[in-house]
Subunit: 84 residues, 2 copies
Amino acid sequence: MLYHIKVLVYLKDGVLDTQGKAVLGTLHRMNYTELKDIRIGKYLQLWIEAPDKETAKKRVVEMCSDLLVNDLIEDYSIEVDDIS
Amino acid sequence: MLYHIKVLVYLKDGVLDTQGKAVLGTLHRMNYTELKDIRIGKYLQLWIEAPDKETAKKRVVEMCSDLLVNDLIEDYSIEVDDIS
């Protein structure tokens, strides 16, 4: 069965987001002064064949720890949708 | 009032995701052959002062069209949480 899995990867609290700070400065110069902060992470969409939802999720967790997430500075959340 | 807004930015269907293809190849070489596809987008978290939810969302939509989203090749979705 094919599963569509959404993974949100974001910097842990306290980790300096240099990209976010740069974008914040630009938006302030564009007069969006009410913006207090912006943090930029990754939105991963994966399509994976698996016998069931748990196996699909388990494999994505393995991919996250192997490659997709730097667990020194990043956290992530996973959402599993089944397609067919 | 401070609002926490989450924006998911992702490539439109049909737009080649070169980054996604590169990661897919790496994961296949790491024996995650059941992975059919992966598409990589941006997960933006914004904290914005606004009198109400609609105004907060409206301003973020403006920021998206002004800077945060390239609407030629990207789509996005917005989710508004209020904090206090």
